[in-house]
Symmetry: C2
Subunit: 210 residues, 2 copies
DNA sequence: GTTGAAATAACCCTTTTGGGTCAGAACTTC
DNA sequence: GAAGTTCTGACCCAAAAGGGTTATTTCAAC
């Protein structure tokens, strides 16, 4: 299994090289201090797994992930970094990083991570995993509550589907006048003056889930 | 450290009890075959960590997570399940499950997971981790492209902010007639018949980023 | 058993919207 | 310079939307 390394700290890079080279399963085929010209380097080295630092001068790891994952989807990339920046974490994940190991973790974790990614897993430091799970949790916090009644939510939902007042009336088996009445109340509660505004608010603030 | 277990398969539950009981760090304080009346059970047992199956008759694990995490945010919950259902996976994570271990994994993984959650980590089977990371990746794929021009996107964006045609005209320094013209084109391209529909489509399909 | 909230419905009215059609100006591309 | 796209603007017209007012019914709560 061929590994290449991108890490600007020379000492650390050599350490990783040694660690990985010590195994007879892995072979280091490339080792660089930034992601400059990474595409050609990867084409030349043909690694199976890339270990990538984020913080590097000039061409950083975020760039690297982006470029490689766009062209070579099946080369696995493990981010290896100190952890101080949520934004870059999620940018990397978005662009398809396969694993995320912190530098403060034991070196054996990095070693195991290589095996895991090549087996199709997604090794993460527990700190990272927690951070990732938190993004899911966030979404169920109760944002805002405009005290819409069930009926009002129902009608607002149909409005977001592009129904006209008349269609809503038919769908709910009530007169169009009642639909208008409900929507008037809804607009008041949401502090909006039009259907489009109400829809925008409903969708972005997720007013319609339950 | 006090552990309680919810698992409908009696054999498996006993196995887990034994596994955990064999350690002198952990103590099983409760063991049940569904989540019926879980709130009182938890109040009585006062566990630090709960191991929770998802598939249980009558009162399942999804319910359990919901109820417990609502009241006792700091009791850690590890989901322990066969894996066949993305929906329930994400529902559990959303409600605050702290770890997610598959039954097919080695029992030692479950054992380690207990230590990890109590240390604030988020242990996951690699299958689960991969599934979770995939949800991030998904979001950057180019959904749909309706070939809106820059101007059209600009105007659609103002519409989603609840601007009327007139307000858009003023904001863009063009006549209201031109606004109407643009919106007619936009509606055609999006295959919608109204502003509300267009807004809903724009927001849910993220047509306005970039 | 009355108070109150929610849902239902009707009337008024003006403004806004959405569809049709037509057309000139500005700009790039070939 | 011809062709194509984009942005601009206009007119007509019917339908829809949005705001105001008033009122009945239902149903749970106190």
């Amino acid at each position: 299994m061929k590994i290449s390394i991108y890490e600007d700290n020379d000492k650390l890079r050599e350490l990783i090289e040694m660690l990985i080279g010590s195994s007879n399963e892995f072979k280091v085929v490339g080792s660089y201090h930034n992601t400059h010209d990474i595409l050609n380097k990867v084409i030349q080295d043909q690694p199976d797994v890339i270990i990538m630092d984020i913080d590097m001068p000039e061409h950083d790891g975020v760039e690297g992930v982006q470029i490689i994952k766009q062209k070579f989807h099946d080369i696995k990339i493990i981010m290896h970094t100190v952890f101080d920046d949520d934004d870059r974490l999620f940018t990397c994940l978005q662009h398809g990083a396969d694993g995320y190991i912190l530098k403060k973790d034991a070196p054996t974790l990095l070693f195991n991570a290589i095996k895991e990614v090549s087996a199709g897993g997604a090794p993460m430091s527990s700190d990272i995993a927690r951070r990732v799970l938190q993004t899911f949790r966030k979404s169920d916090k109760p944002l805002n509550d405009y005290h819409l009644t069930d009926r009002e939510k129902e009608i607002l939902e149909l409005l977001t589907k592009g129904f006209t007042y008349r269609m809503i009336g038919i769908a709910c088996k009530i007169s169009i006048e009642t639909v208008r009445r409900h929507l008037k109340n809804i607009y008041q509660k949401l502090h909006v003056q039009s259907g489009t505004e109400a829809v925008a608010k409903a969708v972005t603030e997720q007013l319609l889930k339950n």
